[in-house]
């Protein structure tokens, strides 16, 4: 069955209101919501864990008597005695009082990396942060394995996620269309969507899982090659953090695009699978 046949066989015609198509299979929908919930808890508990030592390094170990730090969020005292929160990136310090390094009420501030509203629990509690993180990590990894196998078998991966040569050729046009907020809803992913989803699902997800495993001293004994791949445990921890930041950025764009593209139709499709495409008006597409 060709792709076109496949889509057409699932079409319901609705005149000029556009067609309703079956866009998201059950495996996609279940894994989407498992990830949504798991990543919410993984993010907030992960920031709690980060706060236990709010500094990142490059290498096998953390430099206390040498400097291999790439990021830190600390409260520091200036020469005039004033305490502020500072975020230091590659040696450059920025005052980030209220958000990073120092936050909370001005008369009783907390000296912590990320503020209370960004962590779970809200107070400093590394043990609970780890309990939450490792619980949802199992669901996250399980959903990834289910999605990967299901998408490989169903052809979702090849058909909808990996950009084709034609997609790549259409990249400049797709870019200029997006910059002009001109979106086409024909039920198929455009090249930018494919690249974004491929980047998240096939690059960032595996990276964040593997760097997480690399931080486990137990798994270091079983799979020591992971340490070589990522350049040491502390580099792995830094990559894990960068992946988190990229996922937060993806989430913001993802939500923006859902709202921009019609939140009800988008929500319906990721819950029920059914999506209404734009009516056929080919001339507008090329305008």
């Amino acid at each position: 069955m060709t792709i076109i046949d496949d889509i057409e066989s699932r079409l319901t015609h609705h005149g000029d209101k556009g067609n309703v198509i079956y866009r998201h299979r059950i495996a996609t929908r279940i894994t989407h919501w498992t990830w949504a919930i798991a990543l919410f808890f993984l993010l907030l508990s992960g920031l709690q864990i980060f706060n236990a030592h709010p500094e990142l390094y490059i290498g096998k170990q953390s430099g206390f008597e040498f400097d291999n730090s790439v990021l830190s969020m600390r409260a520091m005292q200036a020469a005039d005695g004033k305490v502020d929160g500072y975020t230091t990136i590659f040696g450059q310090s920025y005052k980030t009082t209220g958000v990073f390094g120092m936050s909370g009420p001005a008369d009783n501030p907390s000296y912590r990396g990320f503020p209370a509203w960004a962590t779970l629990p809200s107070y400093q509690d590394l043990a609970t942060g780890r309990v939450i993180h490792f619980f949802f990590a199992w669901f996250f990894v399980a959903a990834f394995l289910v999605w990967f196998v299901a998408s490989l078998i169903s052809g979702h991966l090849r058909r909808d996620i990996l950009p084709s040569r034609a997609d790549i050729r259409g990249l400049p046009k797709s870019l200029s269309d997006h910059l002009r907020f001109r979106f086409h809803h024909d039920g198929r992913y455009n090249v930018l969507q494919k690249l974004a989803y491929a980047g998240v699902l096939l690059v960032i997800f595996p990276l964040i899982i593997l760097t997480g495993i690399t931080m486990s001293p137990g798994m270091n004994a079983a799979w020591p090659w992971l340490l070589d791949v990522f350049g040491g445990r502390q580099t792995a921890r830094t990559i894990h953090f960068v992946c988190m930041a990229l996922l937060v950025a993806f989430f913001l764009i993802h939500i923006f695009m859902v709202v921009a593209a019609g939140p009800l139709n988008e929500m319906r499709s990721i819950i029920t699978g059914w999506y209404r495409t734009d009516p056929e008006k080919k001339e507008e597409h090329t305008a």
Binding site: H53, K60, Q61, W117, L126, P217
Partner: protein, 263 residues
């Protein structure tokens, strides 16, 4: 509808609602579920048993933690937790440079024994350059020298019903209103008999410093730092962890940290 006009008001409303939900969540909405008394917390913590079982399945009993070259020791071993115990019995030992120190091994063994520091130093030793990973997130590479714990267990002859090795320590940890309790830890017999599990009396080619657990601490290289009890007073073989502390197997475990710290 193929052309798209941003409805800014609609977008801001949705974004605002999403942002306030996120804010609420972190702001303590979940805190009640996560306290140590909550049943939700127990469900979440059950994932740690899964992690333990899966790791025991994936990791060979004798698989070694990575070892490093001596040139990768670039700094002193970072001290953490207790760094200078003030317990009277410890201070008395420290005053005489631990000359009167004797480490005991008892519990479920055929032959309870005790060892002076010199006796331990005269036993076949193992030296390893390994990475110490603190639960807080940092790592530090150091060179450790000591007696394999397996040697001591074999001399004392572990009884078949023993399942855990419990470490009793000299240092007290302050618990605020509930006073102070002695640090303790425990591991299973797989890690106890692991070739890199040593009772270390040397660190970076010197006698172990007080800040790092003098006179004797354990190295359990496939787990996190808090498992590696310092200031060891004695070792006990046990079939259950219930009688010790609050029964969770260690000082930090009693406060909510996982007993298996291979992750």
């Amino acid at each position: 509808m193929s052309g798209f006009i941003i409805n800014r008001r609609r977008f801001l409303t949705v974004a605002g609602a999403a942002a306030s939900a996120v804010t609420l969540s972190g702001c303590g909405a979940f805190d009640g579920f996560l306290s140590s008394q909550s049943p939700v917390r127990d469900v979440l913590a059950s994932a740690n048993s899964l992690t333990y079982r899966v790791q025991r399945m994936l990791i060979d009993a004798d698989a070694l933690a990575p070892e490093f070259s001596a040139s990768e020791v670039r700094q002193g071993q970072r001290p953490n937790g207790s760094t200078d115990p003030t317990d009277a019995d410890y201070l008395a030992l420290k005053e005489k440079q631990f000359a009167d120190y004797r480490m005991t091994i008892g519990g479920l063994v055929e032959k309870p024994l005790s060892f002076s520091l010199d006796e331990l130093r005269n036993m076949p030793a193992r030296t390893q350059v390994t990475r110490h990973d603190c639960v807080e997130g940092w790592s530090c590479i150091a060179k450790w020298t000591g007696v394999p714990l397996a040697t001591i267990l074999d001399e004392a002859r572990v009884k078949p019903e023993a399942r855990f090795v419990v470490f009793h320590c000299y240092d007290s940890m302050d618990l605020g209103l509930s006073g102070a309790v002695r640090y303790y830890e425990s591991i299973d017999l797989i890690d106890a008999r692991h070739p890199q599990t040593i009772l270390a009396y040397g660190c970076n080619d010197e006698a172990l410093r007080v800040a790092n657990g003098a006179p004797l601490r354990v190295r359990i290289e496939r787990q996190l730092g808090y498992k590696m009890a310092k200031y060891i007073k004695g070792i006990e073989l046990a079939s259950t962890l219930a009688p010790y502390g609050s029964g969770k197997g260690g000082f930090w475990e009693d406060l909510g940290y996982e007993w298996y710290a291979g992750i």
